[in-house]
């Protein structure tokens, strides 16, 4: 408002301001051109590199390319038709779904419980120290985490089986039994991500303003009510982002599953990426068949994640 008054009363200033305005306009134009040249190279490179996994994969999926022969020809929907009737593909789809569900839910539940517990009960330096420790598992390479836990879960010399040994019980071969293998691997995933998310939650809760919590506390709310109705709604953005990141990351669990069970026993832990890898490289070298699978995987994830990303924009 002060500037408006000045404009009316002092003509000299008006002229000066007009000059500044046009200078600002030319700066904005210059800035726009500059931003274009800064952002374009990365865009072009990314777009070019994204061609093989998108259009290249689509093209391959309609061929009969294999590892042995470099030449291939058009086979229409044969690969997709074959997938439709492939028991192992449906199994992999189901395993992927279960894996996604238990790891995402597991990590979120563990993070919420531990995050609130730490925030309520542990303070100051102890809290910082614990947070640093809880970050260690996520910093381990997935392969290292897989190897470490495979050793600990081993039925004969694994330290996890030691209590059973003490009680005189039979050791449990967690990774060799179809009913427990997937859950044992998921436990390792939650060990890495749940603890990491707990730290994120604690850090996020520390940034929240204290007054709503104190007001609710004075009104006689219980601790769990405070968190459920005051803190968690305030952390909605962080929670949704965590959920989203975990859902994407859970689809990248090839390394963990590969090092722990290689998809076994049988096909009990064979997710879609493991089966695509086995079909394309491991057992049969049917590149086109694997490409058809990866096209389906790519389409599903892109559609689901794009929709959720755009839908949840207003909450983030």
């Amino acid at each position: 408002m002060g500037a408006g008054v000045l404009n009316k009363t002092m003509p000299a200033t008006v002229i000066a301001r007009e000059g500044v305005k046009s200078a600002t306009a030319s700066r904005t134009r210059q800035m726009r051109r500059f931003a274009f040249w800064m952002a374009s190279p990365a865009f072009v490179v990314l777009a070019l590199l994204a061609l093989p996994p998108t259009f290249g994969a689509l093209w391959l999926a309609f061929q009969n390319r294999s590892l042995e022969r470099a030449h291939s020809h058009w086979v229409g929907f044969a690969n997709f038709y074959r997938l439709w009737r492939d028991y192992r593909f449906w199994n992999a789809l189901e395993i992927t779904g279960i894996w996604e569900l238990i790891t995402v839910l597991g990590a979120m539940v563990v993070a919420l419980i531990l995050g609130i517990l730490l925030f309520e009960k542990v303070r100051g330096r102890t809290l910082n120290f614990v947070c640093l420790g809880l970050l260690l598992p996520i910093l381990l390479p997935r392969i290292a985490a897989g190897l470490i836990w495979r050793f600990m879960l081993s039925p004969l010399m694994g330290v996890i089986n030691y209590p059973f040994h003490l009680l005189g019980l039979q050791p449990i071969a967690f990774l060799d039994s179809p009913s427990t293998a997937l859950y044992a691997i998921a436990m390792v995933d939650v060990w890495q991500w749940g603890l990491f998310f707990a730290v994120i939650l604690v850090k996020a809760m520390q940034t929240l303003p204290k007054s709503p919590m104190e007001a609710a506390h004075l009104d006689g709310a219980r601790v769990w009510q405070l968190h459920l109705f005051v803190n968690l709604p305030a952390l909605r953005g962080t929670l949704i982002t965590m959920l989203f990141v975990k859902a994407v990351e859970s689809l990248r669990s090839f390394d963990l599953i590969y090092t722990m069970t290689t998809g076994g026993p049988g096909v009990a832990t064979e997710t879609l990426d493991l089966y695509a890898y086995q079909a394309g490289i491991g057992i049969s070298g049917r590149i086109s068949y694997a490409a058809a699978m990866s096209v389906l995987l790519m389409l599903t994830t892109t559609i689901i994640f794009s929709l959720t990303w755009k839908k949840t924009r207003k909450w983030r």
């Binding site: 500059f34 931003a35 800064m38 190279p41 990365a42 490179v45 990314l46 590199l49 994204a50 093989p52 996994p53 290249g56 391959l60 390319r65 470099a70 517990l117 009960k121 303070r123 102890t126 614990v130 640093l132 420790g133 809880l134 970050l135 260690l136 910093l139 390479p141 392969i143 290292a144 190897l147 470490i148 050793f151 081993s154 004969l156 010399m157 030691y162 060990w191 603890l195 996020a204 940034t207 962080t238 689809l251 990248r252 090839f254 390394d255 590969y258 879609l272 990426d273 695509a276 890898y277 394309g280 490289i281 590149i287 990866s294 096209v295 790519m298 994830t301 892109t302 990303w309 755009k310």
Partner: protein
């Protein structure tokens, strides 16, 4: 009294949590220093004569030496490419407004969504056609897709944290946009940019699936490590634990730096 109870409760919660988080790593470390005889025991052995034989075995394996060289060269190149393309783009995005900004961010994010297996298999077919399959170049190219998109994504908050007033002041002093970027924004944002850089490095350093598909002889370290675990009946657990420990070294060096980065990231934006 109340303080004592509170401290006790705090320790009662903190100690088991720390145990769960740290014990597996400590146990693997101890096992990497054991003879096979001490490892193959149903009763965990806590007191033993430590040996470095497992580490020696790992480091003297020719495949490990090749894998280490390849990993350093490939990951190093891919991260440098990621920085050269990613930082300018992230800065541009941080100064954009409205729809273009959103679309660009979404484009970058959608590349991060790509399932690795869907990236690896078509690239393998392409590289076989071009005759560059199983070369370092092929992995650097493929990893650039990951490094550029990740570095852009993680660097935008850092550049957005640069106060607009400083940049405008520099512009009014007659600095060109390029000078503002190089002399003002980049130095200011650097501490948080380094965090994103390390994060990207760790992601690519640990990558297994793409390397497994695209390489046969020119393997990277994760491929070598995973091959240890698929050795037949006589599982060399001491060697496996030693190689797991060696794999952990680069990320562990970064733990403090990453903690610092997380703190900064939260100040910049209330998003993961």
């Amino acid at each position: 009294m109340a303080v004592k109870i509170r401290t006790a409760a705090s320790v009662a919660i903190a100690a088991p949590l720390l145990f769960v988080a740290l014990f597996p790593v400590i146990w693997a470390f101890l096992s990497s220093l054991k003879n096979l005889r001490d490892i193959v025991s149903p009763v965990p052995i806590l007191i033993f004569k430590p040996t470095l034989a497992n580490f020696a075995t790992v480091l003297n394996t020719p495949a490990v030496q090749l894998g280490l060289t390849n990993s350093v060269v490939i990951v190093g190149s891919a991260v440098i490419i990621g920085v050269l393309f990613g930082w300018p783009a992230a800065y541009a995005v941080s100064r954009m407004k409205g729809r273009i900004k959103e679309e660009y961010q979404f484009f970058v994010l959608s590349i991060r969504f790509m399932p690795p297996v869907a990236v690896a298999i078509p690239f393998m077919a392409l590289y076989m056609n071009l005759g560059i399959n199983d070369t370092r170049l092929s992995l650097v190219l493929t990893y650039s897709l990951i490094t550029i998109s990740t570095i852009i994504w993680m660097s935008i908050p850092g550049f957005e944290g640069v106060p607009a007033e400083i940049q405008e002041a520099a512009e009014l002093d007659g600095c060109s946009p390029l000078r503002v970027f190089l002399r003002v924004a980049l130095p200011y944002a650097l501490p948080s940019l380094v965090g994103g850089l390390l994060f990207t490095f760790v992601i690519v350093w640990n990558e297994l699936l793409i390397a497994l598909v695209l390489t046969a002889k020119n393997v990277t370290l994760p491929v070598v490590a995973s091959s240890f675990s698929t050795l037949g009946m006589e599982v060399p657990w001491g060697v496996i634990n030693a190689s797991a420990m060696l794999l952990c070294v680069p990320p562990l060096i970064f733990i403090v730096m990453l903690m610092n980065f997380l703190n900064r990231f939260f100040k910049a934006k209330d998003i993961l």
